[in-house]
Each structure stands twice: as structure tokens, then as C-alpha cells.
Subunit: 243 residues, 2 copies
């Protein structure tokens, strides 16, 4: 696997530059997730606005990365192993771009939530969930930079906890809505925010799996802990809805 064609030195230099761009992009997305959660927690619309604005830079970086990868492939004409690395960089940039969208979407809901009273417990739960996915992202990017399979596998497992947090929040918020219809609008937005964070976890997991694949040449074979189970959840006491 480590036998490289003669183009490899120039290719490796190009790849290193592009991976540095990915790390920059990853840092911006980490910050966007942290700031979106903070804005929500502090009910700070101005901070939320900054998160929304910052996503443009993330989108631009993805385009720069894709262009750089295509130029590198055209110029260095890499063979199989190097090509896989080149494709992986593009895919990871794609995952980061989507995470940026989710952070932006969370920030967009903040001004609406500020209009209503806080929902008990929501702030803590969402902050904890946001912290978990942010740390997963940080570790996934480290695993990518260091080609660290063990760390990547660890990130992948931690996505289960995020899915469980989302399921717990889903039940909790549905119950709040039933107890007091005035909570419905706020809980709706909080549920979409929790779902966005759960999806961020899925994209981090996808990065972790690409690190495993590019390093070992095979994907982890146990079932990917991707789907949360909220799609099949009914609220506590909601079976009355059947009557």
C-alpha cells in the first residue's frame, strides 16, 4: 500500500496543503457548532447572526478544496491509493459543509425561541449534546490528520450516545408539549435543533469511517450506529392519541 508512483512526492505536498484547508474548515465548523449552542443557551440573537454569516466562509472553503483536489488529480495523475486519498478529502469537506448548514439552521431558530419562555431542562440537554458532537468532530479530525484508526473507531461508537440523547430529548419535549400547548412552538424548534445535532453526529461518524477506510482499506463491518430511533417514538402517554 505504501509503494507510491514517482508522482507521489509532489502529490503528497499538494495533499498536505489541501488537508490543511480541511483542518481550517473543520475548525470553523467546530466553532459554528459551539457558538450556535452558546447563542441558543444565552438567548443571544446577535451571536446567532454571526453563526449564520460565518457559514458562507465554510461553503467557500469547500469549493476551494474541491477545486484544489481536482487540480491536484489533473496535475499529478495519482494512481489507486493516492486517488482514494484525494476522493476522501473531497468527501470529508462535503461532510463538514453539511455540518456547517446544521449549525446555521440551529442559529436560525434562536430568534424564535427567544420570543417565548425557556423550556425547562432544554438548554442543559442541548448544550450537552452540542458539546458531545463538537468533541467527536475534534477527535475525528485528529484521527484524520494522524491516520489514527483507534480514535476513529472510538468516535464512531460515541455517536450512539448522541443518538440516545436525541431520543431522550424527543420524548421529553413531546411530553412538555402535551402538558402545556403554549410550549408547542418552542418545543418544535428545540426538537429540530436536537435532530440537527444528531445529524451532525452522523456526519462526524461518516468522517471517522472514511479515516478507517482510507487507512485500512476496509470499512468497519459492524452496523454503523447511524439512525436514531426518534422516527419510531411516541410520546409518553400519547397512546391516548389513538383513541
Amino acid at each position: 500500500m505504501n509503494e507510491r508512483p514517482h508522482t507521489s512526492k509532489a502529490f503528497d505536498e499538494d495533499l498536505r496543503e489541501i488537508e490543511a484547508m480541511v483542518m481550517t474548515m473543520g475548525g470553523l465548523v467546530e466553532a459554528a457548532i459551539a457558538d450556535a449552542a452558546k447563542a441558543l443557551d444565552m438567548r443571544d440573537e446577535e451571536e446567532a447572526e454571526k453563526v449564520i454569516a460565518s457559514d458562507k466562509r465554510v461553503d467557500a472553503l469547500e469549493e476551494e478544496i474541491n477545486t484544489a483536489v481536482v487540480r491536484m488529480i489533473a496535475l499529478r495523475q495519482p494512481m489507486a491509493d493516492d486517488l482514494r486519498l484525494a476522493v476522501t478529502v473531497m468527501k470529508i469537506a462535503g461532510n463538514l459543509e453539511r455540518m456547517g448548514d446544521y449549525a446555521k439552521n440551529i442559529a436560525k431558530r434562536t430568534p424564535v425561541l427567544v420570543q417565548g419562555p425557556p423550556i425547562m431542562g432544554a438548554s442543559n440537554s442541548l448544550r450537552r449534546m452540542a458539546k458531545s458532537v463538537r468533541l467527536m468532530l475534534k477527535d475525528a479530525l485528529d484521527a484524520y490528520a494522524r491516520r489514527d484508526v483507534a480514535l476513529a473507531m472510538d468516535v464512531r461508537v460515541r455517536d450512539r450516545e448522541v443518538d440516545q440523547m436525541n431520543s431522550a430529548l424527543f420524548r421529553e419535549f413531546l411530553t412538555h408539549m402535551m402538558e402545556d400547548p403554549r410550549n408547542i412552538t418552542a418545543c418544535m424548534h428545540l426538537l429540530f435543533i436536537a435532530k440537527n445535532l444528531e445529524r451532525v453526529g452522523d456526519h462526524v461518524t461518516s468522517i471517522a469511517e472514511q479515516v478507517v477506510f482510507m487507512t485500512t482499506g476496509s470499512t468497519p463491518d459492524d452496523d454503523r450506529p447511524k439512525q436514531d430511533d426518534t422516527s419510531t417514538v411516541a410520546a409518553i402517554g400519547s397512546h391516548g392519541a389513538g383513541g
Copy 2:
């Protein structure tokens, strides 16, 4: 743009084969969206199960396409224009894979919804929304196959209507929830389904924009009609929630 290096004939043949795989994948995703909407409409859990199972084939096709593209790049060493076409095929396969996930997610919610009474008007609205995105997808794939920029631009504009349908549904369902808390669980799932369909529309729009880009070399410059406005919506009469 049409001056091609000497590799182009073999490259064109490979690309045609891969694009045929993309069309197959697109057909499966179109069917998944239609069947998921039908299962929801008919409250047919068995049909929903089939949709969930069929997504495995969609995921497998994306992998086959990515592998074929990488092999093609390695073998034909295409230059700039051809490389752009190769990258576009992979991106479109990626969009289709995500749409398949959304169709699966819709199907997963059907068994829960069957437990409760139907929500008035929901079935019609969602069926209409599903039909719109399915036709958008069909046209986006035709636009891709025929390199038809005009059709791609038309698809892109139609995404606005889908976003508007989603916003209307969002307000409608929130109101249902407030009127009768027994509707909350069902409406929650219906809201996520509407959001999934809206996201399918975004991915179709992304395909349409890639068709424009690969054909004209530039992206449509007016703002992409991507985001729906539900993230900033409060339910009718919900300002009482502020009190």
C-alpha cells in the same frame, strides 16, 4: 470546452456507463419517494417496510458508482473538463443517496402514524409535496442526461414552491397541535416528514445546479432558493406562548 485529450473516447464510454448507473439509482430513489408517500397515505406498514429495505440497494449503487469513477480517473487520467464531469457524477450519486435516506426516514415514521387517527388535510398536502419533489427529481435527471440547462434552471425555481408547501404545512400542523394535544405526536412526525421532503427538494436543486455548472462552467448567480423559512415560523396564535 469540447476539445478533448486523446483519452476522451474511452473516457466517454466509461462515463456513459457510470451515468447509466446514476439513472438506475435515480429511478430507485424516485420510486422510494413515491412508495414512501403512498405507504403513508394508505397507512400501509408493509409498503413502508419495502421502502426501508430498498434503501440498501441505493446505498450499494452509490458505492459502485464511486468505485467506477475512481477507476475511470485512474485508468483514463482525464484532464480538467472531463475531471469536472467525473466529480459531478460522484456528487450527484451522493445527492441521490441522501434522498434515499430521507425516503427511508419517511417510511420509518409510518408505523407510528398508523397508531393514531389521521390528521385532517395532512395526507393530501404531503402527497402533493411528495409528488412535486418526485417530478423535480425526474426532470433534474433528464436535465443531467440531456445536459439541458433550461430544464435544470426550471427545476431549481420549482424548489421555491416546495419550500412554501413546507412552510404552510408547518403552520397548519402547529395549529393542529395547539387545538388538540392528542394530535401532538402525529403532527410531530408529519412535520419531520414534510421537512424530509423539503430537504429532498434541496438535493434535487443541488443536482440541477451541478447540471448548470458542468454545462455552462458557472453556477446560477441569483440566490439559490434553498432554505425554507420554517426555522423562523411561530404557530398561528402562538404568541401567547410568550406570555
